[in-house]
């Protein structure tokens, strides 16, 4: 006969087993949801991440354990790298590379903005001088990719190089992507002159359907030849884009852009949130990661703009240097910010389409950078 006394009952409550760290992490989860709902910070990711953080910090329930729902999802989707790759397929299916095809030179703006990644890598290593920090080269690389301003790339790389930091890195990446409209404009105004910001760019040429179909093959071919370690990311991005552009698989394109990416986003977010445990997140390292993330975005924006200024000189004033800021990716937010800052100077200068070129170039650029880091640091 089971006789259930007060003591074991009390021991089965959450409050009897609650640790401080769990309360704080539930607070962090709630904060992320608050930012998502009230401040519209990347809600599609931060609502599931925040809720995942709350769920996985409920005492006793062990939802992020190896037998718990979030534990299963993490094991199946993140450890294997499947979820970020499927998101990348969806991003490919959702992205129109037309602006980039019309202006191939803007790829260089996407290249320059990746400087933020590598400077941040140095920054992360330098933090080791401060007691309490102990970032390996792999950790530093995973942190640096925040500067790529690309969520799935960051999660993919972190899951391979530094799973323990995954939670903090994903939170930093999505938070700063949401903060692009705050971080970028001052840097843009600081580094450009009014004359430069005033440049009205030539209208984009028409891009044919055939070019759009050949484009994913061109990118994938170069990736296969020079940088196979980036092939999973670039491969799924170009596959999604081919589904979109080839015009004969409407059903599959629609599935990539909707069902698959929506379902995976929910599970990816919950699984990332399950990594927000007190002992992994409430460390000085997280503060370092948050600081480095802001730093990375600033550097990336600045180097993008500087490359924009170089192109302005070289082309004899045909390129508006502002569009360089869009090279960090953060699609399409960064391009919209460029448009907004451009309009401040000249009410009739719409730079949105021109900024989309470097913007999507930034996606390719940071996937390339991730491939380099995987090849040289991972494995």
């Amino acid at each position: 006969m089971i006789e259930i006394g007060f003591e074991p009952l009390w021991q089965s409550t959450g409050i009897a087993n609650l640790e401080w760290g769990q309360v704080l992490m539930m607070g962090v989860g709630s904060l992320l949801i608050y930012l998502a709902i009230v401040k519209k910070f990347e809600p599609l990711l931060l609502v599931p991440i925040g809720f995942g953080a709350i769920l996985s910090n409920i005492p006793l329930a062990d939802i992020s354990g190896s037998e718990g729902l979030l534990g299963y999802i993490y094991h199946v989707g993140i450890e294997t790298g499947v979820f970020p790759l499927l998101i990348f397929m969806g991003v490919g299916a959702l992205t129109d590379f037309g602006a980039l095809i019309a202006m191939p030179w803007t790829l260089l703006l996407g290249a320059a903005a990746q400087f933020g990644i590598f400077v941040t890598l140095l920054g992360a290593l330098a933090l080791n001088f401060i007691p309490g920090f102990d970032f390996s080269l792999a950790d530093a690389s995973a942190i640096a990719i925040i500067g790529g301003a690309d969520g799935p790339t960051a999660i993919f790389l972190a899951s391979r190089l530094s799973p323990d930091l995954l939670g903090a890195i994903a939170v930093a990446a999505y938070s700063y992507m949401a903060l692009v409209p705050i971080i970028q404009p001052p840097i843009m105004r600081l580094l450009t002159t009014e004359t430069e910001r005033n440049v009205v760019m030539q209208q984009l040429r028409h891009v044919t359907k055939l070019e759009k179909i050949l484009f994913p093959f061109a990118v994938l071919l170069l990736c296969a030849i020079f940088l196979p370690s980036a092939a999973p990311l670039i491969g799924m991005l170009t596959f999604g884009n081919l589904l979109r552009e080839c015009g004969v698989v409407e059903r599959l394109s629609h599935a990539s852009q909707n069902e698959i990416i929506n379902i995976v986003t929910i599970f990816l977010g919950l699984a990332v949130g399950s990594k927000l445990s007190a002992d992994k997140f409430l460390t000085v390292e997280t503060l370092g990661i948050l600081a480095l993330g802001a730093f990375a975005f600033c550097i990336g924006t600045a180097t993008g703009i500087i490359m924009g200024k170089i192109m302005y000189r070289v082309t004899g004033g045909k390129v508006n240097p502002l569009i360089g800021a869009a090279g960090v990716s953060a699609v399409p937010m960064a391009a919209r910010v460029v448009n907004k800052v451009g309009l401040e100077t000249n009410h009739h200068n719409f730079l949105l389409m021109h900024a989309m070129g470097p913007n999507v170039a930034g996606v390719i650029g940071s996937a390339v950078a991730a491939g380099i880091l995987l090849a040289l640091v991972g494995g």
């Binding site: 930012l35 709902i37 401040k39």
Partner: protein, 86 residues
């Protein structure tokens, strides 16, 4: 286990179970009443319900302040955790 003992366990379970169900939902009644009051207060005071339907790309002070908040709040959380755990 003899059936009578099983039945006694069942009665025990029923007692505890219904007590917890009622207690839990009763506490939830009060939590919900408190929550509704809070919501009313916040809505009246800050017009949050309007904020909730505002545009996604707001670049005002609120958000700038928020970024400071983000780091500040997480810093505070980390400090609290460190001081209680090390």
């Amino acid at each position: 286990m003899p059936i009578t003992d099983l039945l006694m366990s069942g009665v025990n379970l029923m007692g505890i179970g219904m007590t917890i169900v009622f207690t839990f939902l009763l506490v939830l009644v009060f939590a919900m009443k408190g929550m509704s009051k809070l919501a009313l207060f916040v809505t009246e005071r800050q017009g949050v319900s309007e904020t909730l339907s505002s545009h996604p790309l707001t670049t005002g002070q609120g958000q700038a302040g928020m970024r400071g908040d983000l780091v500040a709040v997480i810093t505070a959380a980390i400090n609290t955790y460190r001081t209680t755990h090390q």
